[in-house]
Symmetry: C2
Subunit: 338 residues, 2 copies
Amino acid sequence: MKNGIKEVAKKANVSTATVSRVLNSSEVVTEETKRRVLAVIDELNYMPHAIGRALVTRQTNLIGVILPDVHSEFFSELIRGIDKAARQHNYHIIVSSTHSDKREIESMLTVMQGGRVDGLIIMSPHIDTEEVIKHLSPLSRVVFVNSYLNGASFDSVTIDNYGGAYQMVEHLIEHGHKRIAILKGEERNYDAQERFRGYLDAVKDNGLDRIKNFELLGDFTEESGYDAMIGVLRMKSKPTAIFCSNDSMALGALRAMHEKDIIVPGEIALAGFDDVPSARYVLPSLTSVHVPIFEMGKEAVEHLFVSLEGKNGGEGKKMMLPTLVIKRESCGCTPVAT
Amino acid sequence: MKNGIKEVAKKANVSTATVSRVLNSSEVVTEETKRRVLAVIDELNYMPHAIGRALVTRQTNLIGVILPDVHSEFFSELIRGIDKAARQHNYHIIVSSTHSDKREIESMLTVMQGGRVDGLIIMSPHIDTEEVIKHLSPLSRVVFVNSYLNGASFDSVTIDNYGGAYQMVEHLIEHGHKRIAILKGEERNYDAQERFRGYLDAVKDNGLDRIKNFELLGDFTEESGYDAMIGVLRMKSKPTAIFCSNDSMALGALRAMHEKDIIVPGEIALAGFDDVPSARYVLPSLTSVHVPIFEMGKEAVEHLFVSLEGKNGGEGKKMMLPTLVIKRESCGCTPVAT
DNA sequence: CTGAAAGCGCTAACAA
DNA sequence: TTGTTAGCGCTTTCAG
């Protein structure tokens, strides 16, 4: 037994147009007919067919989200931020967690086109985004999130990776450290680049020497942090503080130091980036840079809706969300609990 | 300048029907015309309008995913598993991370209906799922994931919470522990219940006394683990081992023990559940139960597609994925690295 | 093998 | 205030 707008119309003795008007709460319908229609809708348990509607209104109430392979905390927070804001506008989200692979992103882009979504939120932290951008010229309803845009004229929301790193390194310097190492992330990763840039400038601006030996390469995993730290501990002249470009690497580094009986922060101080939930529960608790991921997702959606409502021409409004240094035990601010 | 199937048809000197045939790789089209049409499609950069197509085929190639507020690791792994499998079938996913709130889930259900999605994957680990179930009678294309179904006739995929807990507790017993405490999760959470049940049975089956004092209540957060552990450490006669219902609580408990100078596992052994990435990097590394979340997502999708292809009547096929005890330092298996 | 035409379920002019 | 009608972009009989 079918159950469309026609059935409702017939049973309520009105035309489908009127049912439609009731559905879209048009003001012109009589209270009387409206009540009658609503009664039938309720009785038949009718629910408008989203696809039929979308075809004519040219609006799907769906926004697409294309993400690379980010760490779980980032992923879930971002999705939740996006979803929450989207729901507030009565939208749903289609997510695709593609790999960072350029070709995959491109294929997602085309697939998501074709009227499937009203807008797109893309995160593409790998440096080869430029290629991708070309492929989405026709669809101006896009907001980039934490991506390398290289001046391209798209709306974007990012977090202040540079500033967070800068402040954190400066904080380490305030503790008296002069030999500060950094555990970098992958070269082609935008976050990693920015955080490294912040480190570099903080070191320079504070008159410290840049020590190339102290610029270690990692890949944002615990394992790479562990491995890099083992290397550091073999150096004849060690750093007195380590700034890790993310918390995962910091955890790995911490483990390595524990195993080698290095006292943190006594012998070597440590700081991370991201402020993951477990940061405050390891020992010593991890000083880190808090990153407003949820808010970034939320803001991305709000930007998108400005475009969707045509208030702007999508002429590339940029927004940068502040990061915040969270001082705990591993940098030496708080005595280590015991 | 528009760019629909009509434009392609005109430019290729065929009817829209033929273009459609080419698009759907119908066998009947001549090689010659097919090439001509494809050329025009390419030239015009044409991409079929998904909504128009969905309206007639009654198929959206979208599956809805409704999740509660789970921890980030679980969330991202599950989504990735689902997304990966869905992509393989050329589907996309609409995700909604509602609260565990019953009413919210219901509203999501109705919203996702209406032709928007071809099927639904729902996770509803709170015990009041039964109510929810009633509201989705018309839509048989549903697979539940890690949910409390109470015998309801839906397809479902779960992980072996019970078995994992049972084996872990038994492992602790093998280490000689006779006084094993458990940090439970929320009462109404299905995972928490099953893990508790596993604990209880393992204790009983091995002839140990059930000590009600040792059954502590938490809520799966680090904080609750910390707080509960502080309580434990105040007991006059303490347990010699703690089984935490998840790793977050185990991390909190570990921190509490460190602060109070309790040696783990020397004085008190510790085990968690979930095997989050950082489990192997804390000190001592955390013995935990590995949970195949990605696979669960993947399996859920495969089950769904069996239903979608009408091979079964959705008569409630259940699948349970095995969990695996990962032995590390915190239970006493491996000497603590140092 | 190809084309004409009839919709899929809904909304939006335009009339009445 | 309500109904009639013409599509939205595509697929799919049914003829040819």
